[in-house]
């Protein structure tokens, strides 16, 4: 049974539909990368899975339990936590306070404050500084730590590399195995396709709100992926959007 199963998700904003029948699975301890051009619906998908957006149609289950109807605050407690695009820390709180905010599951797992400070020593050094005053890399670390502090089952990472120097991004991606080892499944959105392929076991490509390609990251045909990414004639939208995935 998948940890996270998304089936036939339609979602959007007011009059605008952003997702069309999206389905995907996330197995325990697995990292799946979500790629696609700007506006493909990657952030919308993560927001819907996290509960910030109500889907128009379709379902989401976590370890077999249907969480589609759960409001956002409940979903975090169920174990689905989002690291939002652009970090979105609580600016007036210190780094440590940001990490302490998540309510509910803090006692339930391995990610204690100490463990997080071990994972992110740069955060430990700046723990009493106000989040708004931290550097981009430090903020990203705090944002991930904040999410992990809730000991999630599923971690949603939206554009972790946004606005950060490559060396810093490398450092983050090197931490993924440690995060996965603690039992967390990761669904990450990444603009840099190479990074996405390297960091994940499977990759899902979105185009204009539909899944157009899925496959094992290691053996994915680069050209086919690029075609799917941009929606060229050789990979028409609609191909592969039944979302069948080899588990």
């Amino acid at each position: 049974m998948s940890t996270l199963a998304v089936r036939g998700l339609d979602a959007g904003y007011e009059d605008f539909q952003a997702l069309f029948g999206v389905s995907l699975d996330l197995a325990a301890g697995e990292t799946v990368a979500l790629v696609g051009a700007n506006g493909a619906g990657k952030t919308t998908l993560l927001m819907t899975v996290a509960g910030a957006l109500r889907p128009w149609r379709g379902g989401i289950t976590l370890d077999g339990t249907d969480i589609t109807g759960q409001p956002d605050y409940q979903r975090a407690r169920s174990g689905v936590v989002l690291v939002p695009e652009g970090r979105r820390l609580f600016g007036s709180l210190t780094a440590e306070e940001n990490i302490l905010v998540p309510a509910g599951r803090r006692e339930a797992g391995p990610w204690t404050l100490e463990a997080l400070y071990e994972l992110f020593p740069m955060v430990a050094a700046r723990r009493s500084h106000r989040a708004a005053l931290l550097s981009g890399g430090e903020q990203q670390a705090v944002a991930i730590a904040r999410a992990l502090a809730a000991n999630p089952r599923v971690l949603l990472l939206d554009e972790v590399s946004l606005g950060l120097a490559p060396a810093i991004v490398d450092a983050f991606y090197q931490l993924l195995p440690a995060i996965q080892a603690s039992g967390v499944s990761v669904l990450l959105v990444e603009q840099d396709v190479d990074r996405a392929l390297a960091a994940s076991s499977r990759t899902v490509c979105l185009l204009e709100g539909r899944v157009v390609m899925t496959g094992e990251s290691a053996s994915l045909d680069r050209d086919a992926l690029i075609a799917a990414y941009f929606g060229s004639p050789s990979a028409p939208p609609g191909a592969g959007d039944t979302g069948r995935v080899r588990t």
Binding site: A50, G51, P71, A76, L82, V101, A150
Partner: protein
């Protein structure tokens, strides 16, 4: 020496204004909400206290022990039923709804209690004073100042050091993300409003010991509270204390020259602050306009 005494009385008056204003300041800071019914809710608490005193024959402090928790509950109910909905409806809705609530409260009080000023019996409290040198230290005024310090200090501590306070500050920074971190915003805001109304009721009742209470007292109460908050700077509880002091001292000093213009003077001071430094003493420039 009288000018020292004047400043002192101004400080005491400022403490009273600050205690009245702290609830309004809290609601501004956390929820960005202007509660135009704030003054009327303070008056409500006062009438409730006097009714309890008259009905059960208990002294003021007992009545307040009963009334303040009830005011907290009223705040909870109002937030959950009206204010929360108004906040979610739009930016003008809270103004219209709280103004409407203000009118409702004033007229309900008018119908229930008549327009006459009602006294708040407090034994000798309203006149008892300590005289030190040339200075007059009225007990009631000192009590109000101390309470202002306790409430503001206590709230600041709660906000800084407790998990609840952390959640309040986080929600105030970014409500959507706070929800995604598992924070339940509706009960959180309800607790904030509860505290705000309880503080207002406490302040209103103590103030009424000196001046008495009448149904339309809420309007002036709101205006002074609002001014203390603005002068001190939005989002700063200690700023509200200072804002109250500025108002109080201005009023007392001017009243030495001309009593009828004392209140007008503090209004004009407020308008000057608005013109010259709208973010107040400790506020963020971007919050106003």
């Amino acid at each position: 020496m009288t000018w020292v005494n004047d400043i002192l009385q101004g400080i005491f008056l400022g403490g009273a204004y600050a205690l009245t204003a702290v609830g309004l300041s809290l609601m501004f800071g956390v929820m960005r909400m202007v509660n135009l019914a704030h003054g009327d809710l303070a008056v409500c608490g006062t009438y409730l206290a006097t009714t309890v005193m008259a009905a059960f024959g208990v002294p003021l402090w007992v009545a307040m022990l009963i009334m303040v928790p009830l005011a907290f509950l009223l705040g909870l109910v109002l937030q959950l039923s009206l204010f929360g909905r108004a906040l979610r409806t739009g930016t003008t809705a809270p103004l219209l709804v709280t103004f409407g609530l203000s009118v409702i409260i004033e007229n309900l009080l008018l119908q229930t209690y008549s327009a006459n000023t009602r006294g708040v019996p407090a034994g000798n409290l309203d006149v008892a004073a300590v005289h030190v040198g040339g200075l007059v230290l009225p007990w009631l005024a000192m009590l109000k100042l101390i309470l202002a310090l306790v409430v503001i200090g206590g709230l600041s501590a709660l906000l800084r050091y407790t998990a609840w306070g952390r959640r309040v500050r986080a929600t105030s920074d970014d409500q959507a993300i706070a929800r995604l971190q598992g924070i339940r915003v509706r009960p959180l805001f309800a607790s904030v409003t509860g505290i705000a109304i309880a503080a207002a009721a406490l302040a209103g009742t103590l103030n009424a010991v000196t001046t008495g209470v009448y149904p339309t007292l809420g309007a002036l109460t709101l205006i002074f509270a609002f001014e203390a908050v603005i002068i001190g700077g939005l989002g700063s509880l200690w700023g509200t204390l200072l804002g109250g002091m500025v108002l109080g001292i201005t009023q007392v000093v001017v009243s030495q020259v001309s009593v009828p213009y004392a209140i007008l003077a503090s209004q004009l001071l407020f308008l000057v602050v608005l013109a010259v430094r709208p973010q107040g003493l400790f506020g963020n420039p971007q919050i106003v306009g």
